[in-house]
Symmetry: C2
Subunit: 772 residues, 2 copies
Amino acid sequence: MLSNQLHNGLETAKLLWSRIPNSEDGEVDGGSLLRNSNRNTVESLDYEVIENYAYREEQAQRGKLYVGYYVAVKWFLALLTGIGTGLAAVFINISVENFAGWKFALTFSIIQRSYFAGFVIYVLINLILVFSSVYIVTHFAPAAAGSGIPEIKGYLNGLDIHGILLFRTLIGKIFGSIGSVGGGLALGKEGPLVHTGACIASLLGQGGSSKYHLSSRWLQVFKSDRDRRDLVTCGCAAGVAAAFRAPVGGVLFALEEVTSWWRSQLMWRVFFTSAIVAVVVRTAMGWCKSGKCGHFGSGGFIIWDTSDGQEDYSFEELLPMAVIGVIGGLLGALFNQLTFHITYWRRNYLHKKGNRVKIIEACLISVITSAISFGLPLLRKCNPCPESDHDSGIECPRPPGMYGNYVNFYCGKDKEYNDLATIFFNTQDDAIRNLFSAKTIHEFSAQSLLTFLVMFYTLAVVTFGTAVPAGQFVPGIMIGSTYGRLVGMFVVNFYKNLNVEEGTYALLGAASFLGGSMRMTVSLCVIMVEITNNLKLLPLIMLVLLISKAVGDAFNEGFYEQQARLKGIALLESRPKYQMRNMMAKEVCRNQKVVSFPRIVKVADAVSILQSNLHNGFPVIDHVRNGETLVIGLVLRSHLLVLLQSKVDFQHSPLPCDPAGVSKSIRHNFSEFVKPVSSKGISIEDIHLSSDDLEMYIDLAPVLNPSPYVVPEDMSLTKVYNLFRQLGLRHIFVVPRASRVVGMITREDLLIEDSEDPASVELHSTSGASSI
Amino acid sequence: MLSNQLHNGLETAKLLWSRIPNSEDGEVDGGSLLRNSNRNTVESLDYEVIENYAYREEQAQRGKLYVGYYVAVKWFLALLTGIGTGLAAVFINISVENFAGWKFALTFSIIQRSYFAGFVIYVLINLILVFSSVYIVTHFAPAAAGSGIPEIKGYLNGLDIHGILLFRTLIGKIFGSIGSVGGGLALGKEGPLVHTGACIASLLGQGGSSKYHLSSRWLQVFKSDRDRRDLVTCGCAAGVAAAFRAPVGGVLFALEEVTSWWRSQLMWRVFFTSAIVAVVVRTAMGWCKSGKCGHFGSGGFIIWDTSDGQEDYSFEELLPMAVIGVIGGLLGALFNQLTFHITYWRRNYLHKKGNRVKIIEACLISVITSAISFGLPLLRKCNPCPESDHDSGIECPRPPGMYGNYVNFYCGKDKEYNDLATIFFNTQDDAIRNLFSAKTIHEFSAQSLLTFLVMFYTLAVVTFGTAVPAGQFVPGIMIGSTYGRLVGMFVVNFYKNLNVEEGTYALLGAASFLGGSMRMTVSLCVIMVEITNNLKLLPLIMLVLLISKAVGDAFNEGFYEQQARLKGIALLESRPKYQMRNMMAKEVCRNQKVVSFPRIVKVADAVSILQSNLHNGFPVIDHVRNGETLVIGLVLRSHLLVLLQSKVDFQHSPLPCDPAGVSKSIRHNFSEFVKPVSSKGISIEDIHLSSDDLEMYIDLAPVLNPSPYVVPEDMSLTKVYNLFRQLGLRHIFVVPRASRVVGMITREDLLIEDSEDPASVELHSTSGASSI
């Protein structure tokens, strides 16, 4: 039974809690985290709120106009994210293409005189580019290393990983990937672009970077974490859309691979962002066609148009295609396993020795990569050019300084080409274009392809995990298309009368390797269709992906999941673990001591409780008149710290603040309770209180969350997990079984109509349904 | 405090509950429903369980082998669903094309002699087709009327609408849509195909139709409702994939528009089903190309290849495109409003007068449609054919009996064509192909297009809601492409020097009308891209959709939402209603009397409780030793009825069954508790008990759900709604505030690893992660 006074206090709490931004169901539980943080290698994990209806309520109180403004800002920021990511992608692509184009042009002109001088120049240019990349990353933006997708996944799952969304990370990522990709390492720029998009979105969502004085007050509208995460989701989709010029693929990637909580309202905004990216990239490419962008133009964005590929397929071909799927699953799973072990070793031994080792390692790998990609083609005998076919428009050998299929490299005669140089001594985009190319049967020898496959696979495994930005898409496509083309060559020789294109098999091989490694399904399928601009291959790609994912799943987890686990990013999966079925809620919190606050707490007590443990949320328990206790809510450490720091809510009497003076008791500006974005917030050690202060009291009722979700103590942990995961919670109270049931809520009780008559409802404007 | 005995009983309950199929958190709450059922026009709404972990637990107990078998069955059924839906789509398309082709061929051959005889024949054939359709629907399968998408949406939202997924509905839908589409009404076959796919999936999921002796025991594996709903989701995607040959669009449609609970594990299976459909349809079309399918071949599946359309667009064109978006939003919203009012009137007045009125109505509309589509082109003056352009391959006039652009109809000279007949006196697929066609500038006059727009819009509004299967996609595309082409013509005249294709504007118009009416976004975008096979138009389609959806949302709800509301299908939306913010949990159940059971209940009492109300779930409350009460779980009406009917669990003593004899107390075969699929289950009136039986007792502990979700009585209804909606619940107990907190569960507590060392975990096979 509630005493009247308490009841008033709780009403106040409900009113106030609903006005504190960013304050729903628990928050910032670093306490339980830090207990376990030693097994994680991530420096700091913070927790933030995901759902925030209270905040939306606050908006509503400010009126319809504000809501409209808020929605407009959301769309405007999505627009800016799209434009920003598109421009970043264009910048990276132009830079990489120019560096690489200039590098190959210089090397080709030098090897006319001396192959040794050309080799030295080639190695040196690559080394300089890679060194600049690794230097930027190690000294300026350590969080920019790697692909970034596991970290973003963790962030959208509810974790805060320190540093991944800072301005310096963005800069490091952009310039780092220009260096590492331009330097010819066996890695791609697509994963980093996803991270770049997420960084841009995050910076926009928090109104710029305050550290670099780039912030703008009028952009700082997003006070809730949910809005920021939504924008980061848009950024991820924009990154994929920019990397592959695949707007639909970007949306599906964000949906399938990255986010943890998806709302259909968000889908449209994500799609909008992707479309903006597509428009920006298209415009930029149109502008570059006139030659204003140097070497950029014919290369660059990975769009490998295979529309002149195989139109039809026969049933006999399904068997070799299934074989490609199996190979993809096996090689993909092996790739995951090898990179896992090597990354594990790097993290625990090699990279602990400091930045110098990281730099030496990257430079060493650069030199080895350059030596192999230059040296191996030298050992390969050249082949005579095939009969010229003017219809196909493919010249042999390709003119110097141009992109094309048949590369004349270390050949005795003019009309010869080196098939290994065509794929190895080339930019990755051009190599893939050559592997996918139709009407070039017998261009490659099986020996060259096999050599390339083994060498490039090894290089890709070794390279991933160095301290440079590194994506896995393009290397995966390279590896996959190589063995795909090998299978295609076999099919051409075996079924001689079929209208088989090796390029189509190369494409299927690429899909199979990515499927076997990353285990994406729908998004990967759509991305492959969009980059090849060929819808007709969709069923074949699906078949291959189905097989390769199934085969890969038989061995290990997906690439991103493994990397995330390695980095200590503990994702809450959507399904509860198997052993939770036999556990009860109280079992997981058996060793915890529940530290609770009374409603009116003495400041000294509050400080000592906060100092004595690291919990981030505390139950508040009040005594009602007859001596019984009652759980009246949850108070967060961060809110307590704000109260203690500002001191305006201190009172002399240990009695609740006057219920009549509810409005007076709100002495805080609620923006003080907003969680800071980049800093770690205040700590109890930072707060200095005089001995007078310590003797005073605080009434917690105005700042507590009056009804966190509760579960009975003997509920199955599976159910608890679902509640926690589906609603994106931070804290759940485990309480004893109830003694009575006040009511029962069923579907019908929740079908509250806006009005009585269903017909008249329709005639009203229901524009509310459209607000995002 | 639990007494020991009670505790044992609860442990038993937990064990047993986990083995009762289809028995998670509440179920079948017809009670609270029937209270309100008078305002619904649907005959019967049943409730079923959506989440069912308990069932999966049962599987697990049966061993890994069974799980493997179960997963295999799921995929196999998805495969069958795909094949079945694909074949159904092929059958419908071949039939429609043949009926329509034969109809037009006959009419054209007769009008060579007499236009009046041709008119009579044309009207009669249409009338016969439409009559057969409406007869089948009214007399055999009433649930097959309309599009079916709102009903499927309701089903996947957790409602059971009587009859929508029966075998007879499937048959009625297939043959009904052949009649209605073949009969030339202003409606499409795409919505019905989605319903067809869902029916096929549902029938497969329940192992065939027992009523028609088509069931197979070994297919009856799916005992949980969740699996059946998943399969129906696959069926919906398959329907869209078959209707538009758009596998990706199908997946996105199922995701965005149809389902309410989406799991990423399901996505891949849905995609697989869509791919199977694509393969089936492609194979069938390849087979038909050789002429084995009569008139089918060049027409049929709606794929309007616009790849020879406009490649590029300039910034000046964005304005007319935006205008198309605005028009689409306005006309779409108007369409929704008009169909809403007309359907409302039909349901409440016209169709209450019986089947005869429905048949007369449909026949009348058929005659009017025939008369208009034949008569209006007669009034139109013919135009001379444009200069022949052999490159484009478009002949003028088209050869008799073929499909093509320029129709010679009631023209004086040979080298003339009738532009209104080209779109009006034609199958809808061909009309759309003509409207989308490139390189046919000046084919249509503005007057003809405007006439067609007004007449067809009116016809589409009037036709929807008659008792025939009716989709809205193709009519929407017709309407949209007409005004789109009008705008395109204006652009051609205004910006004379642009490389503008009217067909591209027609496509954008189609997208804008569908967006303005159905308010789909991503899925519609992808469907439009897939049916036109032109990825390059994606950004433009998005722009247009963005505008038309925003404009439409300013006026009313989407088409399907309105129709669902009209049919009394009360969908639980994903967002809580605005006014829930200011309500508390106990407020919505204030007028309810909670009827609870004791743990050991006398049979007579149980019968009287079940007779006295219509609730479907009851709290079970036990008295512990010291006289306090304790809520020990939830028991379902359906389970109680099974207990009462079988009588094997009756006992003479009012004491709990012996805890030591746990296994003996399970006297039921658990399949008895499975919810029946098509019948309504047993009712309390069907159970006959002797007076001896009435004096006996039942121990409810073995059949109760020991821990339903609970909420404190003063929790905000918004939070309650989220809990209910996100987890797909049926019952929530509203309980008083707890007096103490036993523990606190945070993220870290739920991160239970399979093993201690994260590195060694990786080296294990984690194939469990791949099980669906």
